[in-house]
């Protein structure tokens, strides 16, 4: 694939973030725009389509996150971009990583899955974080996507490129149904109903074995070729790392735009106080359904891609409660309701556990999920804001260090600098508290 050289460029950009005037801060942002092209290609075009609706509002204000006021207030003119830039910079840098890791398939696979799980947590976050409607069965959409494209391909010879939109359409329809049934109700009904659906689908997937392969799972034919969305063994992992990176970037940018779009504001309004939002004229049901459908479509897309990546799916995994919980877990650990949180959560938890498992092969089965469970309890009880809550303190710290450092050099501190300096460390944490 030709993506490798292109996305190495951003990784070089990322290196000297301290030299940040308006121009250099802007550059990585532009890079990110280019880097988004593969998102359209690899992601079947879906994530790219939706955000356009939000473009007019998003463009102008996406730069200065509300809680970033502190950082941007002091900023000189160039600092206006300081909130968008870190996000772009962080992801652009990550796009260079797969190429660097090409020699070690193990790490490359971890990285690829971090992108995928981060994207799935991000998709979960759209309905659960932004709209505040918690789904405990998002694997239903993941599994639906995986089974739709795989069944069409394995049983009917239909290219996954066509299977993916079919899966997404089915997922949107399912989300609309669940949404119409439960989103009128308050409280935890949606969580319960999504659990019911994922369990129901697992039962059905196990039962209709002629179609789904039953509990032994479904093998996806291995016929390398772009038309089949299957890649030959030699560079397969690298390609998939980029496909998942593109998906991740797509989800991330979509969430960023969503935050500053009219829909995003309506979501925030209904999350904070549904009755008040309704009184102000927000069509809460429509807003909830839209976010749920969007979330389901992205999750389904991830499921289809996962099936093509693994070339094998089994109902006990792709339609499990564990997988559903994992989506939520990454988003919660990273920070619910922020664009970058899910990726931080996935980027911290998934490698940590995979590496610890490979370092201590004697760990019993169940160890990973035990740690996930404990981490979830600790996270919601003691750090309900997630890792993104570390953003502001770190930013202050960095500013302090930057200031003293520059005072010693006898130079006036430029806020654009410090903000950019942060990018390297904490990435896009800024936008989170919308």
């Amino acid at each position: 694939m030709t993506q490798a050289p292109r996305s190495q460029a951003p990784s070089h950009q990322a290196a000297p973030p301290l030299a940040a005037d308006a121009r250099t801060v802007r550059d990585p942002a532009a890079q990110a725009q280019t880097a988004r092209d593969p998102a359209a290609g690899g992601g079947g075009g879906a994530p790219a389509g939706a955000p356009d609706a939000a473009t007019p509002t998003a463009e102008g204000s996406s730069a200065a996150g509300s809680n970033d006021a502190a950082a941007s207030a002091a900023a000189e003119p160039g600092g206006r971009l300081s909130a968008a830039a870190p996000a772009a910079l962080g992801l652009a840098a990550l796009l260079g990583l797969p190429a660097l890791l090409e020699g070690s398939p193990f790490y490359l696979e971890i990285l690829a899955l971090v992108f995928l799980w981060g994207a799935m947590a991000g998709a979960w976050n759209i309905v659960s974080g932004y709209a505040g409607k918690f789904s405990l069965g998002h694997a239903a959409f993941f599994g639906l996507g995986a089974y739709a494209s795989s069944i069409l391909y394995a049983r009917g010879g239909v290219s996954p490129w066509l299977g993916i939109p079919v899966g997404m359409a089915l997922s949107v329809a399912l989300a609309a149904f669940i949404g119409l049934v439960t989103l009128r109700l308050k409280g935890k009904y949606m969580a319960l109903c999504t659990i019911a659906f994922v369990s129901l689908m697992e039962i059905l997937a196990v039962h209709f074995r002629d179609l789904t392969g039953g509990s032994e799972g479904l093998m996806v034919p291995y016929e390398p070729g772009l038309a089949n969305l299957t890649f030959a063994n030699d560079h397969e992992k690298l390609v998939w790392a980029y496909v998942f990176a593109a998906l991740a970037l797509g989800v991330f940018l979509l969430c960023r735009r969503l935050e500053r779009s009219p829909l995003g504001y309506r979501l925030a309004a209904l999350r904070e106080d549904e009755d008040a939002a309704e009184a102000l004229g927000v069509n809460t049901l429509a807003v909830k359904l839209t976010s749920f459908g969007l979330s389901a479509a992205l999750t389904s897309l991830g499921g289809s891609l996962y099936a093509q990546y693994m070339l094998w799916i089994e109902p006990q995994y792709v339609l499990s409660m564990e997988l559903s919980t994992q989506f939520a877990l990454f988003a919660i650990i990273g920070g619910v309701g922020s664009a970058v949180g899910p990726f931080l959560g996935a980027g911290l938890m998934f490698p940590l556990l995979t590496l610890s498992r490979s370092a201590f092969p004697g760990l019993p089965p169940g160890f990973n999920m035990l740690v996930y469970g404990l981490a979830l309890i600790v996270a919601v009880l003691f750090f309900p804001k997630g890792l993104i809550a570390l953003g502001p303190p770190l930013r202050r710290l960095a500013r302090l260090i930057g200031r003293t450092g520059r005072a010693r050099l006898g130079r006036r501190p430029a806020a654009g600098e410090t903000a950019a300096g942060l990018n390297a460390a904490e990435g896009p944490a800024g936008s989170s508290h919308a």
């Binding site: 919660i332 035990l370 981490a375 919601v380």
Partner: protein, 296 residues
């Protein structure tokens, strides 16, 4: 169809329904009083089943005799869980309320997997094999016991809530937490006792079904899901609803298992669940509007 088959189906269905009811009563009690859904409920059940297994392995005590002890153990475990986790979540945003118990369930299930592996275990006691005959109908003795306990416990619980002073305090808390506090009810204590009581009941249930069902780390998951279905069907917070809903789900499961096969029978009650949510979200016995109160 042979009439004896119908009787057999009805008897098995009602008995299994009694088990579901017993499992669900604790869940609905906790929900009604505290407005939280304990997503780890199934894992509490699984823990009780393992407790019954190990007590039987180590001391030879059959689950009939260890059931009260396990009920007490789970009562204590519930109190501890409330102190350490639940009490911190009651006034928190929904994400905290949901995922604290989701995390607890995940941790408990996998703790069991780490310690006991995923093997199926069964209690090999004479009592586990015993059957009871009623005319043409043959049913497992342990299920009859579980059913009996379910009926007695629900009756006792209803009496407790209706006629005793602590029961009055519980009902007051259900109606209006703030007003109850103004009348001098110690809400924290009511919550603590409710959660412990609900956990103790599921402990009792776990011990009683441990002779009938295989014991393994995710054994609680299906029962947990079934009890959510029962509770929503009966009306969240309604104890009569849990009893009737449990019996209904047991019957439906048994009959559909007979008609369409074992592997699809659970699909039927999930479909029922979705239908209830669509048509009557308050459940059979829920008060109108109870699906909306206080659980935001």
């Amino acid at each position: 169809m042979d009439s004896s088959i119908i009787w057999q189906l009805a008897a098995s269905g009602l008995l299994i329904g009694g088990v579901y009811a017993l499992i669900s009563i604790g869940l609905t009690l906790i929900f009604g009083v505290m407005r939280i859904v304990n997503f780890a409920h199934g894992e509490f059940l699984m823990a009780s089943m393992f407790a019954a297994y190990w007590i039987h392995e180590l001391t030879g005590l059959t689950p009939y005799w260890s059931a009260p002890l396990i009920g007490l153990l789970m009562f204590g475990f519930g109190a501890l869980t409330h102190r350490l986790i639940i009490s911190r979540t009651l006034n928190s945003p929904m994400v905290v309320q949901i995922f604290a118990t989701v995390g607890l369930g995940l941790a408990m299930q996998n703790l069991a997997l780490v310690f006991f592996s995923g093997d199926y275990r069964t209690i090999r006691a004479a009592a586990a094999q015993a059957v009871v005959r009623f005319g043409p109908v043959q049913v497992s003795q342990s299920l009859v016991a579980a059913f009996g306990v379910a009926v007695v416990v629900s009756a006792l619980l209803l009496a407790f809530v209706s006629w005793t002073y602590p029961g009055l305090a519980i009902r007051a808390t259900v109606q209006n937490r703030v007003a109850a506090r103004l009348y001098g009810i110690n809400i924290e204590r009511v919550h603590l006792w409710t959660f412990a009581l609900g956990s103790g009941l599921v402990g009792l249930a776990g011990a009683l079904i441990s002779m009938t069902y295989p014991i393994y780390p995710s054994a609680g998951q299906n029962f947990g899901l079934a009890s959510f279905v029962v509770v929503v069907l009966g009306g969240m917070g309604s104890m009569t609803g849990a009893l009737v809903g449990g019996l209904l789900i047991g019957l439906v499961e048994t009959v559909s298992g007979f008609l369409i096969g074992d592997d699809l029978k659970k699909a039927v009650y999930f479909v029922m669940f979705i239908l209830v949510l669509t048509l009557r979200p308050t459940g059979l016995f829920g008060r109108r509007g109870s699906e909306e109160i206080g659980i935001k």
